[in-house]
């Protein structure tokens, strides 16, 4: 008889699926919204409990989905890292829905709101399954769930450019899953397993014997590229700005905060659990990841500097931040992976905050979204202004905030790498570039323009938009708290991550 807490990961996934189905029964937008919020809260609490048990007992466990043990049935695996990620994913999902709730109900037609929350609930299930999965093919199925759900969230706003962005996103994602699937097939053809533990053994034996080297290397490469396309790795990121920039506020927050991370977490699982970092370094995939990550850090920031539209600027900045994560993974050491995991957490806290604050600022400015029309908007909702400022400063890397710590650890991890100089220089350059577009944005929202300038903008503002938005305020405050938490008490969090990687 296993201890009860080992059931928690499965129960979390199960709750999310059941809530999705229930949402389709209830159909009323407001009620379903509350159900989704409650679901994320319950999942967050359960995941925290799981994290507590796993971290204090320093274990990870395999949970067979059904009564058939290891190589015969499906299984999921949970360790401290997985529990931590699940907690953060649930919290961020809930807060994003909370913070963007106001514009959500404005952007989506009343009869479609119920369906939107069906999609978010199933997205939560998909993300949790991606975090916990211990089986390659289960990973593929839940990648597809996440893909369809993410596309549905982009198109929920239902304007023309939105639809086009969705179909581009869909095709790129399908390309990614196609590559992942063919990589999986090739790997299966030389190893014959799908479950990760036996697969890892088979891969290690093949690598040792030098048999089937080519299929092995190619399949690793294909899976990395497939997940990279879905996670907006540098040359494959062109779909991202339109998809994330045009969606409704909550969707943008969830998409760049969580969905991208879901694929990257699966990639991390594959790298550490199946292939092993040593093999990744040996076949050179690590160096490709490192190069593309570094290029993404620079080019993402350059693209963001060119943008006027505030949400597209944030979306482009995601490309740069994802570049940091791939760079950390590309270092191919445990320290690098740990730093990348920490950056996943930081970005998952900062980017949704920036998105919901930008959404709120544009709501109180008559739904204008280009930066010049948002000038002085921080005074119309101070909480949103403060949130935007904190998020942006954290992204730049100001001490006491989360972004600083992750950059520090990434640099520290780079010290052991043979490419130390290049990596450190790129981090420095990217930080400067980040500052070059975030600081003007912060200045723009805080500098009070002359009254004549804002008069025309204020004419578009409806009185109900400027009313105090309690839900937004709560989400804003919690996000700011999270960022400070990540920036000040980073040590225990990093210990959890290290334990998680050790127990992968």
């Amino acid at each position: 008889m296993r201890p009860f807490y080992e059931n928690l990961p499965f129960i979390c996934i199960f709750i999310a699926i059941i809530c999705g189905v229930l949402s389709a029964v209830i159909q009323d937008g407001r009620k379903v919204y509350r159900l989704a919020l409650m679901m994320t809260a319950v999942i967050a609490v359960l995941s925290v409990v799981l994290l507590y048990f796993l971290y204090t007992e320093d274990v990870s466990f395999v949970y067979s989905m059904g009564r058939f043990a290891a190589p015969y049935g499906n299984a999921i695996k949970a360790g401290p890292l997985q529990a931590l990620l699940a907690t953060v994913f649930a919290i961020v999902m809930g807060l994003s829905l909370l913070g963007g709730g106001h514009s959500l109900f404005q952007d989506i037609l009343p009869e479609k709101q119920g369906l939107y929350f069906v999609v978010t609930d199933l997205l939560m299930a998909g993300l949790l399954a991606l975090v916990y999965t211990n089986d390659m093919f289960t990973g593929y199925v839940f990648i597809e769930i996440t893909t369809i759900a993410a596309c549905a969230m982009v198109m929920a706003k239902d304007t023309g450019p939105n639809l086009i962005a969705t179909i581009r996103y869909l095709f790129m994602s399908l390309l990614g899953s196609g590559l992942f699937l063919i990589g999986l097939t090739l790997l299966n053809s030389v190893t014959g397993y799908l479950l990760m533990e036996p697969l890892a053994k088979a891969v290690a034996i093949l690598a040792e014997l030098g048999q089937y080297q080519r299929p092995l290397v190619v399949s690793i490469g294909l899976m990395v590229v497939g997940l990279g396309i879905k996670g907006a790795m540098f040359p494959f990121h062109l779909w991202l700005p339109d998809a994330h920039g045009g969606a409704t506020t909550s969707s943008s927050a969830i998409l760049s905060g969580l969905v991208l991370k879901g694929y990257i977490v699966l990639l991390i699982t594959l790298m550490t659990r199946v292939f092993g970092l040593q093999l990744m370094r040996k076949v050179g995939v690590s160096n490709i990841l490192l190069t593309l990550g570094l290029l993404g850090m620079i080019f993402g920031s350059l693209a963001a500097m060119r943008e006027y539209h505030v949400k597209r600027m944030l979306a482009n900045s995601s490309v740069a931040q994802i570049g940091y994560i791939f760079m950390g993974l590309g270092l191919g050491t445990e320290a690098g992976v740990a730093a990348a995991c920490f950056h996943i957490l930081v970005h998952a806290a900062c980017k949704p905050l920036l998105f919901i604050c930008a959404g709120r600022l544009s709501t109180v400015s008559g739904h204008h979204r280009s930066l010049k029309n948002l000038r002085g908007s921080a005074y119309r909702d101070v909480a949103a202004g403060v949130g935007f400022t904190v998020g942006a400063l954290s992204m730049i890397g100001i001490p006491l905030l989360g972004g600083f710590v992750s950059k520090l650890y990434l640099s520290e991890a780079a010290l052991e790498s043979p490419f130390m100089a290049v990596v450190l220089l790129t981090i420095a350059a990217s930080t400067v570039l980040n500052a070059l577009y975030y600081v003007p944005a912060i200045l723009a929202i805080w500098v009070r323009p002359a009254w004549e300038e804002v008069r025309f903008i204020m004419m578009d503002v409806k009185p109900e938009d400027t009313r105090f938005d309690r839900l937004f305020f709560i989400a804003d405050a919690v996000f700011i708290f999270l960022i400070f938490l990540l920036g000040i008490v980073y040590h225990p969090i990093l210990n959890v991550i290290r334990a998680g990687i050790r127990l992968m």
Binding site: M1, N7, M65, G66, R67, G73, N74, V141, R214
Partner: protein, 297 residues
């Protein structure tokens, strides 16, 4: 060509420097007078540049894409030449897992069809995910195509009504007669496949797909109203959601019991799961059809 464009751009820029340009509306006038530090280029210049970028992108993209694709194909081609040979029993794929499935499926799951036994019980979690994909796809298609203010106007409704009227006055006799003849058999066949999946090819997915096909044929032959009277929106939603719910709950119990080592009676579970999967698939397929056809149930 590009020279001319350059010139007009330059002229506009010069005009703007001289303060001659006429702003299109008062908002931009103010913005242009005191432009923020970042917005150095005027709006039109920016637009022009964006358009040029798009053009350059569209010109460069096919080249880059085809090079990438061809490289990938070459790599794959070289790879599949050295994977284990086709059809040999000694390949790595044919390991103890597949042997176990073949030898113990009947004993452990009660199904003689190893594929059905595998997807429903050994790898049941995948199948749950797959049902979720179907459910999600129907929800997304409904989000897109269900009639609302955004995607339907009077004209479309009028056209739909006109088409219905034509169909009513000029029924397609061949279709109708053959459908009348075929639909009972198709429905019967689908039920056979659905219930017999454990001992013969088929099972939930195939049976559900055939059942959905039968419904579509019926609807196409007798007109959607006929079927709507039989299968109302409420009934459809009920069946679809009850199917997935029953499936998820049964499967939840199955996993929970299995993982914790509690023994439960298994036979009914397989039947329920198989039936529920069939219902979900049939509803999904009929839902796709009716959403594509009419935008409402």
């Amino acid at each position: 060509m590009s020279d001319g464009k350059e010139k007009s751009r330059w002229r506009r820029f010069a005009e703007w420097v001289n303060g001659d340009s006429v702003a299109r509306d008062p908002t931009t006038q103010y913005v242009m007078d005191r432009r923020p530090a970042r917005a150095r280029a005027p709006q039109e210049l920016h637009e022009e540049r964006e358009r040029l970028r798009l053009k350059k992108f569209l010109g460069l993209y096919p080249l880059a894409a085809s090079v990438l694709c061809l490289t990938l194909i070459a790599i794959l081609f070289a790879t599949v030449l050295c994977i284990p040979p086709f059809g040999q029993p000694g390949n790595p794929t044919n390991n103890e897992v597949s042997r176990h499935y073949l030898e113990y499926t009947e004993e452990e799951t009660g199904a003689t069809n190893a594929v059905t036994g595998m997807i429903l019980s050994y790898r049941g979690f995948d199948t749950l995910g797959e049902s979720c994909v179907l459910f999600l796809a129907v929800s997304s298609v409904m989000m897109l195509l269900q009639r609302d203010g955004n995607n339907t106007d009077e004209q479309t409704l009028l056209r739909l009504r006109r088409e219905d009227a034509i169909e009513r006055t000029h029924p397609d006799n061949i279709l109708r007669k053959s459908a009348k003849l075929l639909s009972p058999f198709i429905l019967l066949f689908s039920l056979y496949v659905l219930f017999n999946g454990e001992t013969s090819p088929g099972g939930g997915f195939s049976g559900g797909a055939v059942l959905g096909g039968g419904l579509i044929l019926y609807s196409a032959a007798y007109g959607p109203e006929q079927l709507s009277r039989l299968l109302t929106r409420r009934l459809y939603d009920g069946v679809r959601i009850a199917g997935l719910m029953a499936y998820a709950l049964t499967y939840g119990i199955y996993i929970f019991a299995g993982a914790n080592g509690i023994t439960v009676e298994m036979e009914w579970m397989m039947t329920v799961i198989d039936l529920a999967v069939g219902l979900v698939v049939a509803c999904t397929i009929y839902g796709f059809y009716t959403m594509f056809q009419r935008g409402k149930l």
